[in-house]
Amino acid sequence: MKEMLRLEHVYKTYNNTDGIKDISFIVNKGEFVSLLGSSGCGKTTTLKVIAGLEKVNSGKVYIDGKDATNFPPQKRDVTMVFQNYALFPHFTVFDNIAFGLKMRKVNDYDIVKKVKNIASILEISEYLDRKPSELSGGQKQRVALARALVVEPKILLLDEPLSNIDAVLRRTMILELKSLHKKLNTTIVYVTHNQLEAISMSDRIIIMKDGRIIQEDTPEKIFTNPKNRFVASFIGEFKMNFIEGRIEERVGDLKFVAYNDIVLNLTDYQKSKLWAFKDKFVILGIRPSDIYIKHPREGLLGNDFSGVVDIIEHFGINKLLIVKIKGFPITILVPKDFNVSENDTISFSLLPENFYFFDVETGENIFYEV
């Protein structure tokens, strides 16, 4: 695999604090990499640094093998789609898309050909004569995308392209972006605060927080092997349950014990590592989707509980139950057609193989595999 982009210890701070710190990562040719993090964590700054629109304080940016740290934006052959699309309001859609080609001194014949081609791929051919103000949000976004793609850049930078789009259209656009990436095989750095977008499109996800990279991995690995509690709660459509408790020895066996005498069995592997935490507090995490609902006549599986359903929330094909066990609320994900109503009592099992453990102080995943 050929390396297309490499950032080495890049710092770009505003007022000495905000901005990005020590950012290093590599993107290979044709890869789709997402920068994921909540608002203000430095995602846009990272893109601007790659595009040369912000100068780094220190560190290096390599594009296609060349040290581009001091290249002006015009020389980088990297195009960016801004979050607000930044369409030129006084240009028609055609002129907007053609702008990059004109700057590259492409001849008129090829400009028309290329603009028409990309417009048909993005299904905006019929709007070429319109002004941006006459387009819907979704259409504007396609124009911005076409304008960035038509010059066949080395790297395409997308800054939260789907954030201004409603949920239904977002689903379709995720699929379209994916197939567009497959078709054009462009190297893409995609910025989002939406973990679903990142998980469903990326080859790799880079999680950022407060200007730093927290974890970088494939979507699957980030889901199953979160580096710390922050990543664990950020990734996953439904927020992980966190329970603080102590690791205690009970009749020669190691258990997790939470406030109201919730005593949980652990796997042998977990025990082997958690001996070091004996009599110490840890945070146990379990995803709402990992909690096993038992049939009424099913036998004991270990870590069996029954609790009263407090609240039911509906989420498309799923619903989320908030169940109290010994006064402690825990969320459980069940299929939409699972027959339950509020105030029912249900039985479920917290299977130890689905547990995550985090250090109380640092929040690090005790079982993180590098």
Partner: protein, 276 residues
């Protein structure tokens, strides 16, 4: 019911504005085409419209080489002022819009300082300065003085518009390969056209009827602009119809100018209103 009253008040207001605007125009035009009998009636009531309307005054003025000369001077001065004020004001406003620190406010106050004092105060040092530079008694000198007066306003009008341009638009142009110059000329400038139009009207009108600076800088030389000429004429107590003829011709370019761009201006005002 409430709506009707509101409409009534608005319409009444509009009517007042129209009357207020049209009354002086009416008097100017009426007197300028009045025959002698309609002005000096010997005690009779002055008629609302002249008994025998005549364009004699205009024929006289437009065939007077002195008047033509003065009129052209005013056109030249206004033209140069327009050119200088835009050439300086547009880049200055753009530059200021890029400054994010407190220096900007300092510079703005500094720019405004020329208009903080009454013209009659600032005109003396400026005239003295212009005399030193041998700019007194020249079209260029008056134009530069007018530019000085117009600049603060031009900058204020344009600055507001430049600041409205989202920074991403500019970054996007660089990102797509445009140089700074191209970005400014092709992307940023067209986005502030409404303000450039408004500024142009303002500059033109300011220069066209500016008196104090023109009067001091031109002194008693042979170059005169229309307001200076009008002032000199007054001291000869000319007939009222000739005076009003000059006044009409003085206002004419302003009308023409506004008429020419009013359509464009209206579109911009409407677009602006819709944008909010």
């Amino acid at each position: 019911m409430r709506l009707k009253i509101k409409n009534l008040i608005i319409n009444f207001g509009l009517l007042l504005i129209i009357i207020e605007t049209l009354t002086p125009i009416y008097f100017m035009i009426k007197y300028s085409i009045s025959d002698r009998d309609s002005i000096i009636t010997g005690g009779d009531v002055i008629p609302l419209w002249p008994y025998h309307p005549t364009f004699m005054v205009y024929k006289y003025l437009l065939s007077s080489p002195k008047f033509i000369d003065v009129f052209l001077n005013s056109v030249k001065v206004a033209g140069f002022t327009l050119l200088f004020a835009l050439m300086l004001g547009v880049p200055m406003a753009y530059g200021l819009s890029k400054i994010k620190s407190v220096y900007r406010d300092f510079l703005l106050v500094f720019l405004m300082s020329i208009r903080v004092f009454p013209d009659i105060v600032s005109v003396i040092p400026i005239t003295e300065f212009f005399i030193k530079l041998n700019l007194d008694n020249t079209i260029l000198g008056v134009s530069l003085a007018h530019t000085l007066l117009a600049l603060p306003y031009v900058i204020f009008i344009l600055l507001a518009d430049f600041e409205k341009v989202p920074p991403e638009i500019e970054l996007q142009a660089y990102n797509l390969g445009a140089s700074k110059t191209t970005t400014f000329l092709k992307i940023i400038m067209p986005m502030v056209i409404p303000s450039i139009i408004v500024s142009s009207i303002y500059i033109f009108i300011l220069s066209w009827d500016e008196f104090i600076f023109s009067y001091f800088i031109l002194g008693y030389g042979e170059i005169e602009t229309l307001p200076v000429y009008l002032n000199k004429m007054l001291s000869f107590q000319p007939p009222q119809n000739i005076l009003m003829g000059v006044a009409v011709l003085l206002s004419l370019p302003v009308f023409v100018f506004v008429l020419l761009i009013q359509k464009r201006l209206l579109i911009n005002i409407k677009e602006g209103a819709l944008k909010e």
